[in-house]
Amino acid sequence: MHKFLKTLIPFDIAKGMLITGKHFSKVFFSANRRKVPFHVVSEYPEVPAKMQPRFRGRLQLLRDEAGEIKCVCCMACEKICPTQVITIESDKKEVRKTKLPTRYDFEMERCIFCEFCVESCGFDSIILNHQFELAVYNREDMSIAMDGKFQNMFGISPVAKYSVADEKD
């Protein structure tokens, strides 16, 4: 009798229809609309992907308003790095009051994106940006330096020029 009633009155089907209907309306009212803040689905390679603010992408050096490198070579990031991918060499001569890095190397192939370096940095001079497409054709391109032509420590690499919404928080 119970089974008969269950077959007779299809609550399960109604529940399922409600779920898919909810999904439909969620996508229907958000897809391809600019004013909706969060999209359930997006046309990713063409429309830049918007990552959550806490997303940990590639390491990036920041400059201040005057265009100076913010890093003061305190070596905190180099010391705390679990996989030791950061190598910093600082300039001895005093251009400004604090030291200026002459070399800031980042071996991305061994990086585990733990964000310890950013947490340890007392001057907010590095971030992990929102770039998530980190594939390169040559292995050497994985080692990022301050003056690299293909990609350097200051910007997102050209691989991701379509896919990362450029916003720094």
């Binding site: 399922g16 898919t20 996508v27 689905v41």
Partner: protein
């Protein structure tokens, strides 16, 4: 109004037939397109967004500079609407392969049977009772004459619809047999068994409106189920509506009951060996059948060409229409074909919604649902309709 001569009647009938075919060939690609998009949205995808697949071919040619510049292909701006044309073009342009050992005549005739049986059903479906529109005076032979809402609104319209619709199964069974291959044969047999089984509850559930209105004419049925009762037919015929809709899904081989085309068991069911436009005819026939089922459901249970939603049309017309301004009366109280088409489209959406929700049943479950549950239920429903007829109408 002059009585039309024979020539004029024939010309008007041809015009109506053309209109019906135009309606079919507008709504079927739209349904195909909606199927892609709505199914995508139901599964949290975007569905079809472009027809720009590769760098070669027509779409590649149209998009050649866009790809070179590293930009979005042009056609993708239109949110997949080129798919409307693309789907139909694909059917027409693909190579038509004839299996060597197939029974050639039957192989050719099967999709035609399927397609014709589904189109011809539209002859008895009346989009609006009475006149659809009156031809203007400048039309050469048939100027000034009214064009009815149905091609042939015969007295036994429902019988015609049910009879012709069940001819369509011949196309499927013959296709399965003529392909001379295991999977199509199994698919065709399954389809035959399924459609024969579901024909019974489908017809029984359609008997209830017939009992309640006392007619077999489509427009009269539609009229009395919408305004003859105080409320729409779906309220006294709640179970009847859902049984009819479910049987309609089964009749058209749609998703919860798509035994004949069970992709993971039988490669593609009865049309495994078909390709090109012959396959396209099966495809079209399926969608036209969907439209027919939706049309019947909306006419008998959802108030047909009358607008006012959720019942009350009968009450409204009876009590309120004398007090309303003429424009509102025309809009709310009189039938319009556009409302009928709107309800058809709504039901087609429900079709896709159900397809996106419910997985396929096992074969024995399909049969059990038809014979063990639906046929007794429809009989009970028929008695309910008789009670309503006896006491209420």
């Amino acid at each position: 109004m002059p009585t039309p001569t024979l020539t004029q009647s024939v010309l008007i009938a041809i015009l109506q037939a053309i209109l019906v075919v135009v309606f079919i060939f507008v709504i079927v690609p739209l349904t195909l397109f909606a199927e892609r998009k709505v199914l995508g949205y139901l599964q949290q995808r975007l569905g079809a967004t472009r027809i720009a697949g590769t760098l070669t071919g027509l779409s590649g040619f149209l998009n050649r500079n866009m790809w070179k510049m590293g930009k979005i292909p042009m056609l993708s701006y239109w949110r997949g609407i080129p798919m409307l044309v693309g789907d139909v073009l694909k059917m027409i342009l693909k190579e038509d392969i004839l299996p060597t050992k197939a029974d050639k005549f039957v192989f050719f005739i099967a999709p035609a049977i399927s397609f014709v049986a589904s189109v011809v059903v539209f002859a008895a479906i009346s989009f609006v009772p009475g006149t659809l529109f009156t031809l203007p005076q400048w039309v050469p032979v048939i100027g000034g004459l009214p064009v009815a809402g149905a091609v042939g609104d015969v007295n036994v319209g429902l019988l015609w619809i049910l009879g012709i619709a069940s001819v369509g199964v011949y196309g499927i069974v013959l296709a399965g047999w003529a392909s001379n291959s295991k999977y199509p044969l199994l698919g065709g047999l399954r389809s035959g068994a399924q459609i024969v089984s579901y024909e019974v509850p489908l017809t029984l559930s359609l008997l209830a409106p017939v009992v309640m209105s006392g007619s077999l004419q489509f427009s009269e049925l539609s009229r009395s189920m919408a305004v003859g009762l105080p409320i729409w037919g779906i309220v006294p015929q709640f179970f009847g509506f859902f049984i009819y809709l479910t049987c309609g899904f089964a009749e058209t081989n749609r998703m919860p009951f798509d035994m004949p085309e069970a992709e993971n068991e039988l490669v593609a069911g009865f049309h495994t060996e078909y390709s090109g436009m012959k396959f396209g005819f099966f495809y079209l026939a399926e969608y036209i059948n969907m439209t027919v089922v939706a049309a019947i459901a909306s006419a008998f249970f959802l108030g047909g060409p009358w607008l006012l939603p959720f019942g009350l049309q009968g009450l409204f017309n009876h009590f309120l229409s004398p007090h309303l301004p003429a424009l509102l009366v025309t809009f709310l109280c009189e039938p319009h074909a556009i409302f009928f088409v709107g309800k058809i489209i709504l039901l087609l959406f429900v079709y896709i919604w159900v397809r996106g929700t419910i997985p396929r049943y096992r074969y024995d479950q399909v049969m059990a649902v038809a014979w063990k549950y639906f046929i007794p239920l429809t009989l009970v429903n028929l008695m309910l309709a008789a009670l309503v007829r006896y006491f209420a109408v």
